[in-house]
Assembly symmetry: C2
Homo-oligomer: 121 residues x 2
């Protein structure tokens, strides 16, 4: 398990994390804004199924697709990789970075503060 998921594949996963199971058609419909053709979406679905990120159920002559991995797990893995690579595994510099660049709103800061308070218990 735990194969990497590419960026295009991630968008497909997002659709299915949001609602599943879906047919290839339905997934493609929800990805209309990407401009991808149906074959493209089908290729991505196949690749995801092949690497175990999606589970398929036969429904007559077609498949219903649904996630086989939790979004949280994949997100955690990606986060960890980034934090390791960019900040030596320490998350504070990441936050400091975002802050320095004005990428943090007051709401973000409040949210982080509440989270920290909770973590300290």
């Amino acid at each position: 398990m735990s194969e990497r998921i590419s960026e295009a594949e991630w968008q497909v996963m997002e659709v299915l994390w949001h609602a599943s199971p879906l047919t290839a058609q339905e997934v493609a419909a929800r990805l209309a804004e990407t401009g991808w053709s149906l074959p493209t979406v089908k290729t991505l679905l196949s690749r995801l199924a092949a690497k175990g990120a999606l589970a398929t159920t036969e429904d007559g002559r077609r498949y219903l697709y649904e996630p086989a991995v939790a979004r949280a797990d994949v997100a955690a893995g990606e986060s960890r990789r980034l934090v390791d690579r960019l900040f030596g595994g320490r998350p504070a510099p990441l936050v400091a970075h975002l802050a320095e660049r004005g990428e943090l709103s007051a709401a973000d800061i409040a949210e982080l503060e509440a989270l920290i308070r909770e973590l300290k218990q």
Copy 2:
């Protein structure tokens, strides 16, 4: 500007962010633990120079390489991309994620707390 830097390329950049300018030989020597051959390191250096991430100065018949982009800028870009993609642009969920998985040490939390206090001013 702002071409993407791949993971192998990132390791080369790390060397030069740490000390520069260096020759290809010197860079390769500092990447001994990767097991990469000298040609491999040279390829990575060329690609980085071609995309403007490294600046070169001629030194006789060879080049001296040094970063043409700040580590902080690249790191910020990557962080931003990740946070956008995984957490809808909000950093708190990222931290929450790391926390939930026990990826945050007490020291990390203290560091974050200090940072938040500072940000609130």
